[in-house]
């Protein structure tokens, strides 16, 4: 019978325990506050009910009481705030070496691609005990990737990446819900998170894939002619992308930003927005020419390439004269042939 009125879902992630601990604390604190007020209400209502000949006693107030019952709740609230903030920091700070999974949400399904290349629809297989970071974007409207058993949720937006991470602690299959209303089949945008023992997961992984995502990205990089300008041997028209991911870069307008997933994505889709200092604004936009999955693959590729040897790899303050011919570049784009 009690199973029909559970207080919380199964705890299947490292963060779930922290969240439930705070929840229990809140239940106790608010339960006590409620009890206190209810007891007062019931007691006063009974003890001070109307009796003929017994007038009410007028009491204007009490500064001392007011200060007390303002300060004490406020202090309790601050404790709750701090605790909640700490849990939140943990939730929003993915570990550096987490396995990456790319998620593309669309009405009304989840398209998932592992870095190793596995593709899934509405399902995500993960090994127990490993940090998994999801890099998510939407093709259309705002969705939200919600795993109650892990106690995590993150809205998935069109036009940018949002990130969510977890470490599963318990093998099993858990609900995945879309938690931001997205239209007709919002209730149908559900799936499963399948947490497996590491050995089982390896088996599953090897059961067919198209190769790692970064390899797909490398192919696209060549096919679209990116390597014409983004060279590694000599200073090309575009910045050398080796080792650029995650580093601070200086922009034309003087700002310094970090070259993270969102920055790379923006450079592909809207190159003029945050142009690197010292480079001409000649990169064409690929908006409409690449799908979300292809952008994910390109980003995965750029993340995978380490810094090349030689000083040409470092972003320079002034651009050198572009050595390649105009024709070569145009031909490369038209033919899709590899220049590098």
């Amino acid at each position: 019978m009690l199973n029909n009125f559970p207080l919380w879902p199964v705890q299947a992630s490292t963060i779930a325990r922290s969240v439930d601990a705070l929840y229990i604390f809140l239940l106790i604190v608010t339960g006590m506050m409620t009890l206190l007020i209810f007891i007062c209400l019931v007691y006063f209502a009974a003890r001070f009910r109307y009796r003929p000949g017994v007038p009410a006693v007028q009491i204007d107030g009490s500064h001392a009481l007011e200060i007390t019952w303002s300060t004490i709740p406020f202090l309790i609230f601050m404790v709750i705030f701090a605790w909640g903030a700490l849990v939140y920091f943990k939730e929003r700070t993915p570990p550096a070496d987490a396995t990456e999974v790319y998620v593309v949400a669309k009405q009304w399904m989840w398209k998932i691609e592992h870095a190793e290349g596995q593709r899934e629809i509405n399902q995500l297989h993960v090994p127990v005990g490993r940090d998994v970071k999801m890099i998510m974007t939407s093709q259309d409207v705002i969705h939200s990737f919600y795993i109650p058993a892990f106690r995590i949720k993150q809205d998935v937006l069109p036009g940018r990446y949002t990130v969510e991470w977890f470490r599963a602690t318990k093998p099993g299959t858990y609900h995945l819900f879309c938690a931001e209303y997205c239209g007709t089949q919002h209730s149908g945008m559900v799936g499963d998170i399948v947490v497996m023992e590491p050995a089982q997961y390896e088996t599953w992984m090897n059961g067919g894939s198209t190769g790692p995502l970064s390899a797909t990205g490398e192919k696209i990089f060549a096919e679209l002619g990116c390597s014409t300008c983004h060279r590694t041997d000599i200073q090309g028209r575009g910045p050398n992308l080796h080792g650029v991911f995650g580093k601070p870069v200086q922009l034309e307008d003087g700002r310094t930003v970090t070259a993270d997933e969102n920055y790379l994505r923006e450079c592909i889709l809207d190159p003029g927005a945050k142009r690197l200092k010292g480079f001409q604004p000649i990169m064409p936009t690929f908006q409409g020419l690449v799908t979300e999955e292809q952008v994910n693959a390109l980003v995965a590729y750029i993340k995978s390439i380490a810094a090349a040897k030689g000083e040409a790899a470092k972003a320079s303050a002034s651009a050198a004269a572009p050595p390649a011919q105009e024709n070569a570049q145009t031909n490369a784009l038209a033919n899709g042939s590899q220049v590098q």
Binding site: Y23, Y50, I59, G61, I80, L86, P148, L157, A179, T184
Partner: protein, 555 residues
């Protein structure tokens, strides 16, 4: 027809019988008549919104989406939200009880701008008719929050029409707020200083500030959404360089303070009721008064706590979480002051007081669950689930609607000149309380278990069914509880006992007028020389005076 024991008094002229005919009502500038016009209109929309709620709960009886289609369900919860928020809750107490009582409580003959008051009602009606038309010709399916880019680029439903309806109704809200602020500032009777004002007035003053400063922002947001839909501007469309999060910030900048528009008047009502039925001054008058203002001010600073998982920065989330805890403090102060007022009071359990008790319990629970939601770590798990649904229904229904019903019972004798049947009223209060808890408490559990909002089909999670069944059962009980007052209020207008001037022996200038009051409220302008809630004086001739006269006093 029941006959009183003495000869019936000659019927005085009052605001109800001063003039007859439809036009005397439709062109009235009497704030009391306008209040009744509002009463009819918002009750109508309450039942429409309630009907949608019933269909929603019926659908959720079973995991499968088998009662209505997905699109229909999406329209149902959207229209339920839009109608209840914009056409019921926001006007309810201010437009009905506020309009009726604000001038009377401060000793004025009417509001500062009676014709603008009538215009307010017409704007509400126009907005309401537009919304009705929109619903009848297909409705909207974006959720009452109409987030971009779904609402701007993806839905095929009539967003622009619904948006315009809300825009027009919003003007009604702004003008009501304007009227109240000017009236309270400029038209208090001699001797009615700020510190002698009933706390109902303080609450409406704070509410009006929010209405004035917040509503225009949602108005301009609606304009932008309409423009975006019509012209594909790109302000909220990422493909054109726009930002969907900008929509959310603009939307919630109003919609969070809006919830304080919905609860503050109710708090004002409850204060009046508790003082009267404990026969005591409110404990901590100035703290309660200033807490209303504090809620209004702080309420403008917390909007992004609706956006903790939306993609904001962690640091922004921290700031808004902290401020959200700050805004909880004034509400807590009020609850403690109300409770302390009961101490050493002389408490009567008439229906208004039962509603006030219900308010205290339910608002406490609803408010405390706000503490859960403000905790960032918990919010991530429960936002966009039934936990939030339960939280806001506890405040808006358990709080605001209970307060509204309590106020309607408390001032019914003054408004109608008749007494409602007390036995039925107490029964209704009990049914509402039980039905409410049965409907919404299971939803807290559902939410923490992970059931998302706005789902019409939960066949992937059949384990959620039993809590949903409980909730639907409660909704039926709640519906009965709401129908009862409709019936017996109407009954009382024809068959109820005539009400004396002051059946509750309550403090307040409105009780010094006949029931119902004459058109211009006071025969002579009152001059106030006493503090608010002077229950010791009112009760002094005979200790613990009987509070309800059975026989109307002839003049």
């Amino acid at each position: 027809m029941p006959q009183p024991a003495i000869a019936p008094p000659v019927e005085r002229e009052n605001y109800l019988n001063a003039k007859y005919g439809v036009w005397s009502w439709l062109l009235t500038t009497d704030h009391k008549r306008i209040a009744l016009l509002y009463l009819l209109s918002i009750t109508f929309f309450f039942f429409i919104g309630g009907f949608f709620a019933l269909l929603i709960r019926l659908e959720l009886l079973t995991p499968a989406g088998d009662l209505v289609q997905a699109d229909t369900y999406n329209k149902l919860f959207t229209m339920h939200g839009m109608v209840m928020v914009f056409f019921f809750l926001i006007p309810s107490i201010p437009a009905v009880l506020g309009n009726f009582l604000v001038p009377m409580m401060i000793g004025a003959k009417d509001l500062a701008f009676p014709r603008i008051n009538l215009l307010s009602w017409y704007l509400y009606i126009i907005g309401g008719v537009m919304m009705l038309h929109c619903m009848l010709t297909g409705g909207v399916d974006t959720g009452w929050t109409f987030y971009a880019p779904f609402s701007t680029n993806f839905t095929n439903t009539k967003i622009v029409e619904a948006g315009l309806a809300i825009f027009v109704a919003g003007f009604s809200s702004i003008l009501t707020g304007l009227n109240f602020v000017v009236t309270i500032h400029r038209m208090r009777a001699p001797g009615m200083t700020w510190s002698r004002l009933p706390l109902f007035i303080w609450a409406h003053y704070a509410t009006s500030i929010i209405q004035l400063l917040g509503t225009p922002v949602v108005a301009v947001t609606i304009v932008l959404v309409a423009a975006e839909r019509a012209l594909h501007l790109g302000i909220f469309d990422p493909k054109l360089g726009g930002d969907p999060l900008l929509f959310q910030h603009l939307f919630w900048f109003y919609s969070h303070p809006a919830v304080y528009i919905m609860i503050l008047p109710s708090m004002g009502v409850v204060t009046e009721i508790i003082a009267c039925f404990s026969r005591k001054r409110i404990f901590g008058y100035s703290f309660v008064a200033f807490s209303s203002i504090a809620i209004a001010v702080f309420g403008f600073l917390v909007w992004a706590h609706h956006m903790f998982v939306a993609g904001m920065s962690v640091y922004a989330a921290l700031v808004f979480s902290l401020l959200s805890y700050a805004v909880a403090v004034p509400s807590a102060i009020k609850v403690f002051n109300w409770t302390a007022t009961l101490y050493k009071g002389s408490i009567h359990y008439d229906a208004p007081m039962l509603y006030a008790f219900g308010f205290l319990g339910l608002f406490t629970i609803g408010g405390l669950t706000g503490l859960f939601l403000s905790a960032l770590g918990i919010n991530v798990h429960v936002t966009d689930t039934y936990f939030v649904v339960a939280h806001f229904h506890y405040i808006m229904v358990g709080g605001a609607v209970m307060g509204y019903l309590g106020g309607m019972h408390f001032w019914w004798p003054k408004i109608s000149g008749k007494l409602y049947p007390e036995g039925w009223a107490r029964l209704a209060a009990l049914i509402v309380f039980i039905g409410f808890n049965l409907t919404f408490f299971p939803q807290f559990l559902l939410g923490y278990m992970g059931m998302p909002r706005r789902y019409y089909d939960y066949s992937h999670m059949p384990e959620f069914q039993i809590l949903n069944v409980l909730s639907t059962a409660g909704a039926t009980v709640l519906g009965v509880g709401y129908l009862l007052p409709m019936v017996y209020f109407l009954w009382s207008m024809r068959y109820g006992k005539p009400a004396p001037d002051n059946p509750w022996n309550a403090a307040g200038l409105e009780w010094k007028t006949p029931s119902p009051p004459p058109t211009f409220n006071f025969d002579e302008e009152p001059v106030v020389t006493w503090e608010a809630y002077n229950y010791d004086e009112l009760d002094s001739p005979d200790k613990g005076a009987p509070h309800k006269e059975e026989v109307p006093v002839a003049r």
